[in-house]
Symmetry: C2
Subunit: 364 residues, 2 copies
């Protein structure tokens, strides 16, 4: 496929480990409910899954934040639960309650009954969306593809949707039926590899793996039930497509950064529990850090937003060999005033400028 | 007040730093919905707050797990939100939805309008419950009193109840109105000190401070918005009552253990994100560790429960100078089969035996 040449490669250079002239920025869930134009498109689509499954509409909402703000990367608009949906679980969204499946995976027979699917066939709409978006972007910024991690997908599948008790049922499977949980995770791992590979072939220029619920696992279970599969997925993608960087984001994984870095992902996403300086100290310069402002900051006054951004980059000062991508520590809140995102990105551009120059140029 | 002499002092000795002949055990939320006798008493009470506010009923449910299991400590049955309730916020519980306040603290005027209360007067029912329970226990095991931390109480007060978005509003106050949040926390801090002091005078033999939502704060905000008040509360209680140990439990605080230990609390409660061996290594032997089994373990087969308990104590082996109290990493689930708690406690008694003796006496 021929796409227009990339005009802004800050993000990809950072993921490859380069300390760039400023930190590139994108925001998790940057296309979303805080944007009136998103809500208009979603209303037009009727429901959320139709928005995901209609490549033109997915493309439209993916580009909305790119048109509005000076972001350095676009991310495919989709949902992390497309794979379970393709497995026939019947994904739908209940207003104000998050995702729900028509059928949960509750018993051994439910795992056995999961159909064998071909992602190109069942999830071809995602590939179409990726290609459509790449063309529409015309090389302005790179496009990120993504997938939920096997453990995170399994959490939702076993629970039947989102959870009010930290996915107690899924955590219980870890102790009650570790064999069954690993079998489910193995099935999902193969699908995640195929799914990400499909996105790369369709035009995705980087992949982010979201382990949104990895932090709920006990210290002794994280390796076996999530990290091992993240490691295999990362390796499989890097082997087949060495030019496409992988970002691993484990929410609540601040205590396990060294273990997460052992996936050899090009970048780690960080929530706001760990300062960037601590992550940089613990991990050394070999891995790009992505993060990590608390999304709650965006609900406050512009001056507070600017102050928190300055604080973040002050903290990173001195780590002249650690590549950095600016992001939030979690998805942007639907209650964010859209004009605050402009304030944020301007502050990031200012505060992150020329980190790579000698320190003497930065008055303290 | 004259109470019967204490017959089982394992728990208090452990909190004072002694490595005891076995690890004493209690379980957060040990009096609760998983017990049929609790549900019967709650039905009799009519609603949850009447259960908390009627000393005889609070005493009845506090003793239910003590009568049923060989636990080494009782904990006052109450709710962490009694203080906001006493401040006139109108606490009630919506079936399946958790706590709700009739009035949230949304504006500066709401903070200013909080009444000055005398805890002995407004929360005297808690003191009565403590004394009633102490008498009913007759010295079988010690009684733990408790309070929510100021930050955790503020989270609920600002939100108007439990939260589906990690208390975004409260986190936003940290950035938007730090002065107002600190003013609210200051008010609560004084009340928490009075409240715990009242419980100690009424007969509580140890105090646990629950910072259930401390882990939601950004790394740079935790000290100012939660830890500082935990430190002052701990010091105030220890100064006035040096014989009553304080346990500080910060859910999600695994990355900050050294900072939490700086409160000089006698014990730290641990969730399941950090192995006990890691906590013991990082903190040294000066502080008792309390925890930290994932409550999801209790929903699995007895053999799995036993295996996880063995694993926990294997991990602790070699730390012969670190005092330990067994507990879960969070409250027990309402879905726990009551007979599994018996299995758990038997396994803990077995596996923790004589940790303090030379290692050669433990066949591997």
């Amino acid at each position: 496929m021929a796409f227009a040449p990339l005009q802004n490669d800050l993000f990809l250079r950072s993921l490859r480990g380069e300390v760039t002239e400023r930190s590139p920025a994108w925001l998790m869930r940057q296309a979303g409910r805080y944007l009136p134009e998103y809500n208009a498109t979603r209303a037009k689509a009727g429901d959320f899954m139709r928005l995901c499954k209609t490549p033109e509409l997915a493309c439209e909402v993916t580009l909305q934040p790119i048109d509005r703000y000076p972001l350095d990367a676009a991310i495919l608009f989709s949902d992390i639960l497309t794979i379970p949906d393709a497995l026939g679980l019947g994904l739908h969204f209940v207003q104000g309650e998050g995702p729900r499946f028509a059928r949960a995976i509750e018993h051994e027979a439910d795992v056995a009954a999961l159909p064998t699917i071909d992602v190109e066939e069942s999830l071809g709409y995602v590939a179409q969306a990726v290609t459509t978006i790449r063309h529409a972007l015309g090389g302005r910024v790179p496009l990120i593809g993504f997938s939920g991690s096997p453990w995170t997908l399994a959490c939702y599948m076993v629970t039947g949707g989102s959870s009010g008790d930290d996915f107690l049922k899924a955590r219980n499977w870890v102790y009650q039926r570790p064999d069954l949980m690993l079998s489910l995770i193995g099935r999902l791992e193969a699908l995640v590899i195929d799914y990400c590979t499909m996105q790369i072939r369709a035009g995705a220029q980087a992949i982010q793996l979201f382990d949104s619920w990895g932090g709920l696992l006990a210290h002794g279970s994280f390796e076996r039930f999530s990290l091992a599969s993240l490691r295999r997925i990362t390796a499989a993608l890097q082997n087949a497509h060495p030019d496409v960087p992988v970002i691993v984001f484990v929410k609540g994984g601040g205590g396990w950064l060294e273990r997460i870095a052992s996936t050899r992902a090009q970048a780690l996403g960080l929530d706001w529990s760990v300062p960037l300086s601590e992550a940089a100290t613990r991990l050394g310069p070999g891995v790009c850090l992505q993060g990590n402002l608390d999304p709650a900051v965006l609900l406050s006054r512009p001056e507070a937003i600017e102050a928190e951004v300055r604080r973040l980059f002050e903290d990173l000062r001195g780590f002249n060999e650690t590549a950095h991508v600016f992001n939030l520590g979690h998805g942007i809140s639907q209650f964010t005033p859209p004009e605050h995102v402009a304030v944020l990105l301007e502050a990031v551009a200012q505060a992150s400028q020329r980190r790579s120059l000698p320190q003497t140029t930065h008055p303290r």
